[in-house]
Every structure is written in C-alpha cells, then in structure tokens.
Symmetry: C2
Subunit: 174 residues, 2 copies
DNA sequence: AAGATTTCGAGACATAACGCCTCGAATTAT
DNA sequence: ATAATTCGAGGCGTTATGTCTCGAAATCTT
C-alpha cells in the first residue's frame, strides 16, 4: 500500500490531479485496479491517505511562526491539496472525509498552538481563518506565490488582530 | 443562450456542480448538445458566463465595507464559484480563463476601492488576500458560515492591517 | 412571397474512465 | 504438502465526453 501511495503521488506530479486515474495509479504501482478499490472508496482517498502518511513522517513546528512558515512553503503538499479540495467540491461524501481527516485536524493544531502564544481575548477562530484562508486562496489560484515572505505577511496581519477586541457577535456553531 | 444560462444554474442548484453535465443543461434548455459545444469550450465556461452575466445586472457597492459585505453574503454565487474553482484545479486551460474573467477582475475592483479609502502605505495586495482568502476558504469548506457577521470580522482584521507598516520585502510580480 | 442559406435540435458514434465481477497464479497459513 | 486466501489481470456494462450527420426550422436574399 506504500507502493500505491508513491504511485499516486508520482502520477499526480506528472499529469496534475486532472490527469490522475485509478488505472494509472494501479499500473504504476504494479497492482490490479481491484486492489485499490478494495482499500479506498475513490482516488481522492488514496491521495488523502498519501498526504497524511507523509505528513506523519515530518515533525511539525510547535510554535505559531514555525507552523505558518512550514505550512506556506510545503510545495509538494500544495499540489495534492488543491486536487483534494477540488474533489471535495464535486463529491460531498469525500468532502466530509477530507474535513475530518485533514482540514479539521490542521485547524485544531493551529488553534492549540495559537492559544498558548496569543493573549487571551483573541478570537482564535478568526486567527485560524486568517491563516488558512489566504493559504488556500494562494494554493488554488497562484501557488507560485507561496513562499516565506508570504508567510511573514500573514504573521504580520495576525499581530494586527491581536490588538483588536474580540468580535461582539458570536459566530454560529459548526 | 440566456435559456442555457438559466438551465445551467437550475441544474446546478438541484444536483450540485458534481451532478452537472452538458446533457442535462441541453435537455433542460430544450437545446441540442452541439449548440452548447458551439459556443462554450466546457460546461465550466457556461457557468462562468452565467455568473458574469448575472453579476452585470447587480450593481456592486463602491465602498470597501459594502463590497466586502456584499461579497460575503452572495449565497447564489458561492454555489457556482466553488464548482468553478474545483474545475480550475482539474483543467489548467479553464483556470486561465477563470482568472482572467473573474478572479483578476474582482481583485482589481477591490484594490481600486481600497486605494481610495485606506491610508497610503498599506499594502493593497495583502488587503486583497485578507479579503478573498477567508472568503474562498469559507466558500469551499464551510459555506454555511458565510454571513454578514463574518464580513465584519474580515473588516476588523483589515483595520488591523492599516496600522501596520508595509512589508519590507517586495512580493514577486504576478 | 419563394427559394436559398444558415442555424439548430436530435441522435448516432467512438473514446475514456468508472466500478464490478471473474479467473488463474502467487502467497500465506495449516 | 496441501488447503485457503490474496491479488494481478482483464472483461463487461454504464456514463459522460466530444465529434459528426441529418433533417427541420429559422433567417436572409431578391
């Protein structure tokens, strides 16, 4: 199954997410299609698993600046993630799995880190949106702009939020 | 062709972008498939045209707060846009058209408005990313949270940026 | 108004990918 | 060594795509 992960990532790099098919992953991995269908409900889930598997190998920064910089400079992840986000728009079932297995996880990690560093009273949900919002916007529309200096812009904007009072109107629950 | 626009939007509302096909648009519009292929290179371009056509009818706000509030509360547009953004990830050619015909336009409008209101020295590119970033992030992952109070959060964050010096490192050109 | 030209709805056709099913070989367990 | 399971390979029906063709309707010409 590690071979299937690697095959998926290779095919993705070569033809982009749009050119990814189960057949190509299978033949690249030297595996029958049925073997893939046996373990994953869709090709997007294969890529999602591959993402998370490689993410577990890399230790993640545990301070806010490090987290933001690392997140904004992971080009390999960006290519996979833009495809997964696209798939999530087309397949509502996959969207749930994507949120649970990736989006929500990352958000929780960020909020946990931010809670330790930022003064009390800062709305951490807003901070999360200000970090992940521009990140996704860049990944999806101008991924070539993703770099450290962009991360610094985001960190600067957050330090601007710190100085603002928490919004008075509560946000609707998830 | 107006009938085709309407048909596309109707089918989109009923089955989501994932359930949208040329065949469904054609039969709903009482039109042959070939007629659609004659005028648009893909179904995404049909939806993009429909979006822009309906946008031209609505007059857009010409102050920053109005623009942000209007943008964050247009639920009908959100459904179309998430599908178009997905398509742009899968089809690089469409991605170019989507940027030119929508993303870049909206960005230019925002920057023009912001330039009049915000003090000189504010990095308008960063402002644009702080407006559109969270907007897209919400549209794509939790569209049910899009509302006026969210727009106010974004406006508050921007007023935080105003008070910061412009980033010293210039951004790479588009 | 009548005939020529174009536009268009409808449907046939080939292609590509999906998801399912089957079979024979290889692997694993007993 | 033999039985049981797993797996690669490939066939099959389905669905959507994009191209092509035809006959009818609409438009233009004179």
């Amino acid at each position: 199954m590690r071979a299937i992960h690697r095959a998926a990532i290779e095919v993705l790099k070569e033809g982009g997410y749009g050119g990814l098919t189960i057949e190509k992953i299978a033949s690249r991995a030297g595996v029958g299609r049925q073997t893939i269908y046996r373990w994953w409900p869709s090709k997007a889930d294969v890529v999602l698993d591959a993402m998370n598997a490689s993410a577990e190998e890399n230790v993640v920064a545990d301070d806010l600046a490090g987290f933001v910089r690392a997140t904004y400079t992971d080009r390999g992840a960006a290519r996979m993630l833009s495809g997964l986000m696209a798939e999530a728009q087309l397949d509502p079932d996959f969207a749930k799995r994507f949120r649970a297995a990736f989006l929500d996880r990352r958000r929780e990690i960020l909020i946990e880190i931010a809670a330790k560093e930022l003064p009390p009273g800062v709305d951490l949900e807003v901070v999360a949106d200000m970090v992940f919002g521009p990140l996704w916007y860049l990944m999806l529309t101008r991924p070539e702009l993703l770099d450290v200096s962009y991360a610094e812009n985001v960190l600067a904007a957050i330090s601007g939020i710190e100085k603002l009072p928490k919004a008075e109107s509560p946000r609707s629950p998830d």
